[in-house]
């Protein structure tokens, strides 16, 4: 039985099985390779990634306390921000200095931590905007509908398929601004898929989504891997990370401090220190949180006793 016959989840796990558990470790078949990417804001070093590889066809979780630099890292890789130094390649193509719209067209599409739905466009218009290579997007050709109507119909059919999959098809003619927060997250993800990307980068896709929708979102993310896409996503909820990721990358203070399969990462001492050092605002797991609270109480009690 070859790797290709098996579910993508199993093959991704197998491919990453023999990989070392240290920051910057090489992967068997990387789709994204990052080297020496630095970004400073004044005196603050927001991102300082020496080396990172993302395995093709896998779901990679990027975790880390608030302010670790995850969003900035996404911005840099997708052309929304410029690094002070560094290079990265996507599928062998040099991406440094490429403007954001070209990054998207190359097949690397991102979503935003704060959802960006186009409020006064209908859900369907949101979707159709995502299609690339539209003939009707040129000024001159826009005036001659016969040149683009056929393509428009095809895009509409593809959009409707995706909307049905994301259970938004009944909303197709509503303004996107009338959707709930969770539905907007779904729409943003579905819209990103209209670009037909090879790598999808999701910045906190589950944040603010109610638990019922979270489950279906998780299902969709796994579905992307089955379709051969690579997914990198930022997430705070460790249950989600354990559930869907094949590999976990941990950032703290701009650096990548640990990498490994999800089961191994919770036990990593560096990771625990990073989270404990970060104001306890992003607990690793429920048990971790309990343990932290217990420690805090113990310390407080000890200090209280010391003073009396």
């Amino acid at each position: 039985m070859s790797v290709a016959d098996r579910p993508a989840a199993a093959s991704a796990v197998e491919a990453l099985g023999g990989v070392d558990r240290r920051p910057g470790v090489p992967k068997p078949d990387p789709i994204l390779t990052v080297d020496g990417v630095h970004r400073r804001f004044g005196g603050l070093t927001a991102v300082n990634v020496d080396h990172l590889e993302v395995q093709r066809g896998s779901i990679t979780a990027l975790i880390g306390p608030n302010g670790a630099g995850k969003t900035t890292f996404f911005n840099l890789l997708t052309g929304f921000d410029k690094p002070d130094s560094g290079i990265w390649t996507f599928d062998g193509e040099d991406m440094a200095g490429m403007p954001a719209h070209k990054v998207a067209r190359t097949g690397m599409v991102r979503t935003f931590q704060l959802t960006k739905s186009l409020a006064r466009l209908s859900v369907m218009e949101n979707m159709k905007l995502g299609a690339t290579g539209q003939r009707g997007e040129g000024f001159g050709r826009a005036l001659l509908p016969p040149l683009w109507l056929g393509q428009e119909r095809a895009n509409e059919a593809r959009a409707l398929e995706l909307l049905t999959r994301f259970k938004l098809d009944t909303k197709r003619d509503d303004f996107a601004g009338t959707l709930s927060g969770g539905q907007r997250k779904l729409l943003e993800m579905a819209r990103a898929l209209m670009v037909q990307p090879r790598l999808v980068m999701l910045d906190e896709p589950m944040a603010g989504v109610n638990p019922a929708l979270t489950q279906s979102l998780l299902g969709h993310v796994k579905g992307l891997r089955e379709e051969g896409m690579t997914v990198v996503f930022v997430e705070h909820d460790m249950d989600v990370v354990y559930d869907i990721s094949d590999w976990v990358v941990v950032m703290a203070e701009g650096r990548i401090i640990a990498e490994g399969p999800p089961a191994a990462i919770g036990a990593n001492q560096e990771v625990i220190d990073a989270y404990l050092g970060a104001h306890h605002d992003a607990p690793l797991t429920f048990e971790e949180e309990e343990r932290q609270l217990a420690e805090d109480h113990a310390r407080a009690r000890a200090e209280g006793e010391g003073r009396t």
């Binding site: 040129g138 509503d174 670009v195």
Partner: protein
């Protein structure tokens, strides 16, 4: 007081030269602001560049008027590029600052004594429109809008029939929503947050219908026979309103195409557009050029109609009056700027004439209001009217209230 004359003058203003060239200026702004979200505060500059491009080509270089019009369009394109290149990559407010300043710079350069031999300085330029009036198809005489072609069924009767049909369409569409082909508009899911939503969607006849009904009733019943223009005015008005119709058609076609969809997505969130592979800077530039050229056409209509170019006719107020007309009519609507401009000038004329007559009839004392003050007071009155409109109908006459509600970030 002669109310007949007041209404007649207001109607005349609604179809006059000012309404026509402001409609063009506002259509350009609608492309910039209404569809793309670009804050262009320098539309007066585009009008000036359009006017002077032709004026200088004809009077200084001695070229043909038709070549001059080409120069105007080219000049507007160059002006748009100059404004856009340094600013469109930056935050939205930079364009606003740069455009408002550039429009003033343009005006001051045109009126400066230094360039007087070319631009005519503060006196401006004259004697450039001869070629235009030489091909005037209207014979000498006074033209009443009703009787352009006397006898038989004239084009104006066709306009009347079309108007009646349009009215019927609107009423049927309102009474039986969604039954007519092409009338499907985005639905809004009822939400607990706005309880009056259900009331709003049951509203059958709104302000927009009332305005249309009133205008149509006036035209259908009394015609426009009191509104008369001479043959020269008729000719420039035909061309001016023709350009309004043509550019409106272009805007209509473009804004329902994928090109227009990209512009609207930039208005909503340019980073989202970028993340979906759209070259945002290029589209903003196209929008700036397209709307700027429409503004330049407005400048051309204005000065060819007046047969004179005055630098001080291109001050900053022009831009803000055009915005007022646009917002009055409704942004991001094809006919918003056109109807807005007509109503804006009709209201100004109405306020001025009513005040003037009230003063002459002794209702308003001379001590309270001099005749020169009326010119200023009419703007104040129209301003108050606009404020009331914004309070009770922020979407303008043609706009969609739900869209306006959505534009407030939640």
């Amino acid at each position: 007081m002669d109310w007949g004359a007041i209404v007649q003058n207001a109607l005349r203003a609604a179809f006059g030269l000012e309404a026509a060239y402001f409609a063009l200026a506002a259509i350009g702004l609608n492309v910039h602001f209404g569809y793309t979200g670009l804050l262009n505060f320098g539309q007066a500059g585009f009008l000036a560049v359009g006017a002077y491009g032709m004026g200088i080509a004809v009077t200084y270089f001695g070229w043909s008027l038709w070549v001059g019009i080409g120069v105007s369009i080219l000049a507007a394109v160059v002006f748009a590029l100059l404004l856009g290149l340094p600013t469109l990559r930056l935050r939205a407010d930079y364009l606003a600052i740069v455009t408002i300043a550039s429009a003033e710079i343009v005006r001051l350069v045109f009126r400066s004594a230094r360039f007087q031999p070319v631009t005519g300085g503060s006196a401006g330029l004259q004697n450039f429109a001869g070629e235009f009036y030489r091909i005037n198809p209207y014979d000498t005489g006074v033209y009443r809008l009703e009787a352009v072609y006397a006898g038989g069924v004239g084009p104006f009767d066709v306009v009347r029939v079309l108007l009646a049909l349009a009215l019927l369409w609107i009423v049927v569409d309102r009474l039986l929503p969604g039954r007519l082909p092409g009338s499907r508009r985005p639905r809004v899911a009822p939400s607990a947050a706005d309880a009056d939503e259900s009331v709003a969607s049951r509203e059958v006849i709104g302000l927009r219908e009332i305005v249309l009904l009133a205008v149509a009733a006036v035209i259908l019943v009394v015609g426009l026979s009191p509104v008369a223009f001479n043959e020269r005015r008729m000719w420039i008005l035909t061309v001016g309103w023709g350009l309004v119709a043509l550019t409106s058609l272009l805007v209509f076609l473009l804004m329902r195409s994928p090109w227009g969809r990209v512009l609207k997505s930039i208005r909503e969130d340019e980073d989202a557009a970028r993340s979906l592979g759209k070259n945002v800077v290029s589209y903003k530039m196209q929008s700036l050029v397209f709307g700027g050229v429409i503004g330049a056409l407005g400048g051309l209509v204005f000065v060819i109609g007046n047969q004179s170019i005055q630098p001080d006719n291109f001050g900053t107020p022009i831009t803000f009056f055009a915005y007022a007309a646009l917002i009055l009519g409704g942004t991001a609507r094809v006919f918003g700027p056109v109807v807005g401009s007509m109503i804006f000038w009709a209201l100004l004329s109405f306020a001025e004439n009513a005040l003037q007559q009230g003063r002459e009839a002794g209702y308003i004392s001379n001590d309270f209001l001099t005749s020169t003050q009326i010119g200023q007071l009419r703007f104040m009155l129209v301003g108050v009217g606009l404020m009331l409109l914004m309070v009770f109908r922020p979407q303008g006459i043609f706009g969609n209230r739900r869209e306006i509600d959505l534009s407030v970030r939640r």
